[in-house]
Amino acid sequence: METVRRRAFMKGAAAGALAFTVGGTEVLMLPREARAQKVPLKVLSAEEAGRLEAVSEALVPGARDAGVAHFVDQQCSVPPHEALLGIRIANVRPPFVNFYRAALNEIDRQCQASHGKPFAQLTAAEQHAFIGTMRVGKHPDWKGPPAQQAIYGAFRTDGVDVVYGTVEGSEKLGVPYMAHILPPTRW
């Protein structure tokens, strides 16, 4: 009982927030909710967000609806030392949005060269095959940085974060989250 009481006490001590701007006001919400409510993006364009969602969804099913684009966009808008992105600890130097833009541009350049259309318009099988080649760094004539494997790792991490790195993600897999201090907006 002592343990339960202590944990319950600490849940109330949550600090910090993942803040989205709605109508000029900062609102705490899930990226999933931000996407559903079409909260304006801060850094990425809508077109860039769509391209990012396509790659992320192919890597980690569920990432699109979980709000991966809003997550990445919001995190690219904060100072680097406040960012929660996986690339922060993977030695990618800020500004982080440069990494995503370069990655998306090169992915689509490659897809245009090989299939005559961008990644988002490939079939599911074509997307899967493209990522498989990217994972092992075998797309020829790749214009980096970022390197192919670095993009695979970073985009996969973002997708895994929004789908599985949350209280909601744990609950879906039947795993107790057991927070000392719950993430604000369940992040």
């Binding site: 944990r7 600490m10 600090a15 910090g16 680097p80 030392h81 130097r93 895994v160 201090i181």
Partner: protein, 524 residues
């Protein structure tokens, strides 16, 4: 530029080494200021999330080079507590042979001190911070003088499931000594095994500087200045004394902090950066770098891991990031069939979904990843083997071509494994896979690729007998400038293959007490 009031001691970095120096010197009646680059974390800010936990690590600001670069971001801490705020809390110590590698094996370097010199400090650190473990079980491998103040932590099925497999391979085990409370200790509660140690534990069960030395130091008068980015150490015109440090605050305003003694405890990459940028006519290579050894002999540990998927619920979401079990049985540096260096087994750590479990099969994506996550969420377990890497002067920190926002060069980290390290890693992977398979999992596989991953960052400002072979003496006092001390894992001439924090803290306590005892002579 603002000139601060002179203090007895200015310490750069509020991690475990800096905190110990602050605690000891403040107790000795000295006026101490600690300058910390990052924020002053409060326990209420330590959110239980792999995602939010990234905030307590260093945002990248380094140039990287070399075939196998450990980088900096996942190792270094940012803010009070330093890397110990996100440490796993494994608390082993280096073995006696680690201090005499050159003498015993003809490779690597020797420390200027022995295990016996540090032994009483290991015991005192254990009492200071609270260590849970079973010293009697460890004495088959090395002389642990005193028993630990607490019994071992509780173990869970994801670790215990391998115990019989190790027995089958004639590998004795001991409970991992941990810097986590198994019982209430010094007013701090016992662990509740929720597995969030590495993102910052707000309960106080996890022995971070916030709950131990830094807390004590601040209570006794140490001044902490967060968001203070130190750029240079300042010296007198003769170049034989440091006079203080230069730093920028959160508003990007420049300050000078005059001090009788300066201690740089800013981790293995940033300590050399500050020293190399501290150029003057008397120190054209950077302060205390006449021998050009500052930045040299940077080391990391190699990390081998083998995964196993069981059909049963192994409770992998429970426990601590410290493992339940460990073994030094294959620690002899000549034990591997191929390669050279110590190997150390550890297993039974809690896992979280988006890092450990998704990371166990980094090759999977799409529906295969979805399927794996469902199967592994409760059934995944792991055995790790940490490997030693010999010191090599070519692995180093130097000043990069890029500049920071104040116009000074940032650090460039250069690192590559030698063949001994790669062979040791592969040997360890093979041994661990054989052990894991003996536990009869549904699936077992090696993590990582043909070249090891990297863990920890050590060396770069090594200690030694004199200026011909090192930057500092055994206390961390630089050979060239008597009132400039260095502290932390950067002092290690060799690294063994265990987590470094225990040894780092013992070395820091020894150095801080030497300074306190001889303060008048050092500071005058």
């Amino acid at each position: 530029m603002a000139i601060q009031e002179k203090v007895d001691v200015a310490i750069v970095g509020a991690g475990p080494a800096g905190a110990i120096f602050a605690d000891v010197l403040t107790r000795a009646g000295k006026k101490v200021v600690v300058l910390e680059y990052g924020p002053d974390w409060d326990d209420n800010q330590l959110i239980s999330s792999e995602i939010w936990g990234r905030r307590i690590k260093h945002a990248p600001r380094f140039q990287l080079a070399g075939r196998n670069n450990p980088g900096h971001g996942s190792n270094a801490g940012w803010g009070t507590g330093g890397s110990m705020l996100h440490w796993f809390a494994n608390f082993p110590r280096l073995m006696p042979n680690d201090f005499k590698v050159k003498s015993l094996y003809g490779k690597g370097l020797d420390w200027p001190i022995s295990y016996e010199d540090l032994s009483p400090y290991f015991d005192r650190i254990a009492d200071d911070i609270g260590v849970a473990g079973d010293a009697a079980a460890e004495r088959r491998w090395h002389p642990v003088a005193k028993n630990y103040p607490m019994p071992p932590l509780k173990s869970f099925r994801h670790g215990d499931i391998f115990v019989d497999a190790f027995k089958k391979h004639d590998i004795p085990l001991a409970p991992m000594p941990t810097g986590i409370n198994s019982t209430e200790y010094k007013g701090r509660p016992a662990c509740i095994y929720d597995g969030w140690c590495h993102v910052g534990c707000p309960t106080g069960a996890h022995a971070t500087p916030q709950w131990t030395h830094l807390k004590e130091a601040r209570a006794k008068g140490t001044t902490l200045r967060p968001y203070s980015y130190v750029t240079r150490v300042l010296t007198n015109p003769a170049g034989d004394r440091v006079t203080g440090v230069e730093y920028y605050d959160a508003k990007k305003e420049q300050h000078v902090q005059p001090a009788g003694v300066v201690v740089i405890a800013a981790y293995s990459a940033e300590t050399p950066r500050i020293m190399l940028n501290s150029v003057s006519d008397k120190h054209p290579n950077g302060v205390a770098n006449r021998n050009k050894l500052v930045g040299k002999y940077l080391m990391c540990h190699s990390g081998a891991n083998v995964w196993a998927l069981f059909d049963e619920d192994v409770q992998n979401y429970m426990g601590t990031t410290a493992t339940s079990w460990m073994s030094y049985e294959h620690y002899d540096k000549r034990h591997p069939k191929k390669g050279f260096g110590s190997a150390w087994y550890l297993f039974g750590a809690a896992m979280k979904l988006n890092v450990n479990i998704a990371g166990a099969r980094p090759d999977l994506y799409g529906s295969a990843l979805t399927d794996f996550m469902k199967r592994a969420a409760r059934g995944l377990a792991r055995v790790n083997v940490y490997g030693e890497v010999m010191p090599n002067a070519e692995n180093r920190v130097e000043l990069g071509s890029d500049k920071d926002e104040f116009g000074l060069p940032i650090a460039r980290i250069i690192h590559a494994y030698d063949q001994d390290a790669i062979d040791l890693y592969n040997d360890s992977q093979d041994r661990a896979l054989a052990i894991v398979k003996s536990a009869n999992p549904r699936e077992a596989w090696k993590g990582g690729g043909p070249v090891p991953g990297t863990i920890h960052l050590l060396g770069g400002t090594i200690m030694g007998t004199d200026a011909s072979n090192s930057v500092t003496n055994s206390y961390g006092q630089t050979h060239e400038v008597g009132n400039l001390y260095l502290a932390g894992g950067g002092l290690f001439p060799t690294e063994g293959s265990v987590n470094p924090t225990n040894t780092l803290m013992a070395v820091s306590l020894r150095g801080a007490e030497h300074m306190a005892k001889n303060f008048s002579a050092i500071a005058s």
